[in-house]
């Protein structure tokens, strides 16, 4: 029987060597073997541990907020505590979970494997990134644990420098340091993708995950320094009273917003582009079809990254920036929506005449498309200037970006984690539990965030500790949904850990996928490939006509 074509030919080896030790076995399991490793796969795992810690802490903050919001009165915690909770939730989730989630965990693990390389271009720099990330994280946790920060994750001026008495400088220092980890990781990926592609692996044979990682890395390298500078300016003003943003000192508070969003809007794309890359891999594999419109999907990632640099002012339509500036930013915001739409159309078209397998990763991919559609379409609402004036700063915005960042990115992260889990760990996860969790997450997510669109349109401002009574029903729904969502996220945490010891051993290519990462044992040997592969085919040479059993059926 004909089978799916792999992407490579493995050169004939005259004397096949003995079985190579996997990256788990090679080097041993001592603490030093992990903390001093320069193996991109081990560093990926280290990142997974780190971001998990931050995710759990930030999720607990969210849970407490949702409990507080069950009733209109601010009665469970004080206002000050509530403000610290949402600041903690935002800063930790954005900088210490979402931004490193797919790039630093899956990206670290997969980029060299997908390139057919032994490691990233700068393995030591890669380890340094992880240390910087943790140093930044520890500073942030110190700020949270010893007093907290009450500025919101946006650190708006002049509140953050002149009025907040909380640990703003420590938190800023944490984000500043973690930013260097982003820059170094982005740099590492860019250089690796340019220089370390296996023989025959031309740009248009690259898997789409690498295209989106490349686009993401450009943003990380170009935008993060602006954030770093901005945060230094805030700290300078706060510590030495140098007037930059505070009008009392002759500064301009709206300037801060320009600088902050010049980083933070591109950063929003750091929190979705890698997810889109993962989804392209999943959709093709589980519909057994080459992607429809490869070039368009690839270039749409680059287009999003580039246009994404010029839309920051859509966060400031009511900030007192010029109405003409608003016109330009609104136009560009509509334009940046086009490449996202192209991706969704291409994914849908890929399903046509495919052979669709509903394994857990595919369920996550489909959930991603649904949730991302809602997030994207409500983005069109917010880009419409006249309508944005009403919903700006309300729960409508909160719902919108959670649909993109949680409905999109976290769903893609989980989909990718399940898809590559056999490769990463050498074990299979329990499929039925996986499907159940995906379903619970999809339902829980929608119950949590759909009502927030309504309550935002009704006028409930975000960051409100107490709110008007007519908003209660939507908040109760939201809190109920959040508890479903919590269970949904807890399940994979439990069964994935369980599978590490008890899961079935995974074959090298359980999904019969075409990518290079599947042409080597699971888990891969330390040097990834016994022999450098030679790439002869375009990616995703799947054949839907062939009936093939994937590992889970």
């Amino acid at each position: 029987m004909k089978t799916t074509m792999p992407q490579t030919v493995t050169p004939e080896i005259p004397n096949p060597p003995q079985r190579l030790l996997s990256y788990f076995e090679d080097g041993g399991q001592t603490l030093g073997s992990w903390l001093l490793t320069t193996d991109h796969k081990r560093i990926g795992i280290l990142y997974l541990y780190s971001i998990l810690v931050f995710f759990v802490i930030a999720a607990i903050a969210a849970a407490m907020m949702r409990m507080e919001l069950l009733t209109p009165a601010g009665d469970m915690v004080t206002s000050q505590t509530y403000n610290k909770l949402f600041t903690m939730h935002g800063t930790l989730m954005v900088w210490f979970f979402l931004i490193p989630s797919i790039p630093s965990v899956l990206g670290n693990f997969l980029v060299p494997l997908m390139l057919g390389a032994r490691d990233l271009a700068f393995p030591k720099l890669n380890l340094l990134s992880w240390y910087l990330f943790n140093l930044g994280g520890l500073l942030a946790l110190y700020a949270v644990a010893f007093g907290g920060v009450d500025t919101g994750w946006t650190f708006y001026e002049p509140y953050s420098s002149a009025f907040s008495n909380s640990h703003v400088v420590t938190m800023i220092a944490g984000v500043f340091v973690a930013g260097f980890s982003s820059i170094l990781t982005g740099l590492n990926f860019i250089v690796s993708i340019h220089k370390l592609r296996a023989p025959g692996l031309t740009w248009f044979k690259l898997p789409l995950f690498l295209w989106s990682t490349y686009a993401t890395s450009i943003i990380l390298v170009l935008a993060t320094p602006v954030l770093a500078m901005t945060l230094v300016l805030v700290a300078t003003e706060k510590i030495w009273g140098l007037g930059i943003f505070d009008p009392k000192l002759g500064g301009d508070p709206v300037l801060f917003q320009h600088l902050f969003w010049f980083y933070s809007h591109p950063a929003v794309y750091v929190m979705i582009l890698p997810g889109m890359g993962v989804i392209s891999e999943l959709i093709t594999c589980f519909s057994r079809k080459p992607i429809f419109g490869y070039h368009f999907v690839a270039f749409s990632s680059v287009a999003i990254a580039l246009i994404g640099f010029f839309v920051w002012g859509h966060h400031m339509f009511v900030s007192s920036q010029s109405v003409y500036a608003g016109l330009v930013f609104s136009l560009l915001s509509y334009l940046v929506a086009v490449p996202s739409a192209i991706k969704v159309f291409n994914w849908t078209m890929t399903l046509y005449r495919g052979r669709i397998h509903f394994d857990t990763p595919m369920l996550y991919a489909l959930a991603f498309i649904g949730l991302f559609m809602v997030g994207g379409l409500t983005g069109l609402f917010l880009a419409a200037l006249g309508f944005d004036v009403h919903v700006h700063g309300t729960y409508f915005v909160v719902a919108h970006f959670h649909y993109i960042m949680v409905g999109g990115m976290v769903t893609a992260f989980l989909g990718g984690l399940h898809y590559w889990w056999p490769k990463i760990t050498g074990r299979l996860y329990p499929e039925n539990l996986g499907r159940l969790a995906a379903l619970i997450i999809f339902i829980g997510f929608n119950v949590t965030f759909l009502p927030q669109f309504v309550v935002g349109y009704l006028g409930m401002p975000r960051r409100y500790h107490a709110y008007a009574p007519e908003f209660q029903i939507f908040n109760v729904m939201s809190s109920a949904g959040a508890s479903i969502l919590g269970i949904g996220y807890l399940l994979p945490l439990i069964y994935l850990i369980w599978s590490l010891k008890n899961g079935k051993k995974a074959p090298p290519n359980p999904w019969k996928a075409t990518g290079l990462e599947w042409q080597t044992p699971s888990p891969p040997p330390k040097q990834n490939f016994a022999q450098t592969p030679i790439v002869t085919q375009k990616p995703y040479q799947y054949s839907p006509e062939i009936e093939e059993e994937l590992i889970h059926g």
Binding site: Y156, P247, F296, S319, A341, F358, L385
Partner: protein, 316 residues
């Protein structure tokens, strides 16, 4: 618990903004249909195990891609124009609107009516009149959000921003601060009370007697010693203020600035920043001597001189 799906609509602008909302909802529904109907069909028909024709087709890929790039772009542009027109309507107050001043402060809204009435966290307005709010903040950035009118504007320290409404329904509606401003941000809320013009007049009368803003401004103008230089036959040479407001002012550096609220404010606090053409800067800064409320009173007074012609200048 009630289950409202639509906020109260208290102005024509609110109605128009809601049309955009409906338009976007229809667009979203259409896009969802276009994507999800085929998707669900494909998922069902081409599921593994279901016999179906799966032979790959040679589709005109490039044409399809171009089509679904251009068509959404054009549709988006329609919404862009629609949203932008509404934005210009919302952002630009009609020229002859009555003005009410708003001062945001952690965590309350202070309101000054031109007649001298003052209120806190409540804003009384007459129905059917264009009302312009001239807003500033004493401390951090706040945002003056009136959901029933679909308007919102950040209130920024150090500058004046405006917002305008024309209420067409009598009633009481929410006022929220929608830019995070510190501990009691969620308590920085209030009400806007729309009254019939007659009721509004009697409400104003009940709050009297208080000097009007212009009167308070005038007495401040004398107390602070402004009149000594800027008025009548003073010996010290300072630019006269009659008829200045709203006009272009040529400056020493050959630029021209519009004499609006922000210019007057800056000239009082930072006199050296913009020096009127032909003058030197002899004026001390009033930073710390004039609070935001007094500043608005002074501006109201200087504005009231708008229609007067400059008094003959005495040159030493």
């Amino acid at each position: 618990m009630n289950f409202p799906l639509f906020p109260a609509q208290a102005s024509k602008v609110a109605e128009q903004t809601d049309y955009i909302y409906w338009g976007l909802l229809c667009l979203s529904a259409a896009v969802c249909l276009i994507v999800f109907v085929p998707m669900v069909y494909f998922l069902f028909k081409y599921r593994n195990g279901n016999p179906a024709d799966r032979t790959p087709l040679e589709l005109p890929e490039y044409k399809i891609e171009v089509a679904w790039t251009i068509v959404p772009t054009l549709i988006f542009m329609c919404f862009y124009v629609w949203g932008s027109r509404q934005y210009f309507l919302i952002e630009r107050p009609p020229p002859d609107a009555m003005q009410i001043n708003v001062i945001g402060k952690q965590w309350m809204w202070k309101i000054q009516h031109p007649e001298g009435n003052r209120e806190i966290n409540e804003l009384h307005v007459p129905m059917g009149r264009d009302v312009k709010l001239m807003m500033t903040s004493e401390d951090v950035i706040h945002s003056f959000f009136l959901p029933a009118f679909r308007v919102k504007q950040d209130v920024v320290p150090g500058r004046y921003t405006t917002e305008w409404i024309n209420a067409d329904k009598i009633g009481t509606y929410h006022l929220f601060c929608s830019e995070y401003c510190g501990t009691s941000h969620s308590l920085m809320v209030g009400r806007i009370i729309v009254m019939s013009p007659a009721d509004y007049t009697s409400w104003l009368a009940k709050g009297q007697p208080e000097p009007s803003l212009v009167q308070s401004g005038e007495s401040l103008f004398r107390q602070l010693g402004c009149s000594g230089c800027h008025m009548g036959n003073s010996v010290i040479r300072a630019p006269p203020l009659e008829g200045v407001f709203g006009k272009p002012v040529p400056l020493n550096d050959r630029t021209v600035v519009q004499a609006d609220e922000g210019y007057i404010r800056d000239s009082i606090l930072f006199p050296a920043k913009q020096i009127v053409g032909g003058y030197t800067n002899d004026m001390p800064s009033f930073t710390g001597k004039v609070n935001e409320e007094q500043m608005l009173e002074l501006i109201a007074y200087i504005k009231s001189l708008e229609t007067q012609s400059p008094s003959p200048e005495v040159r030493p």
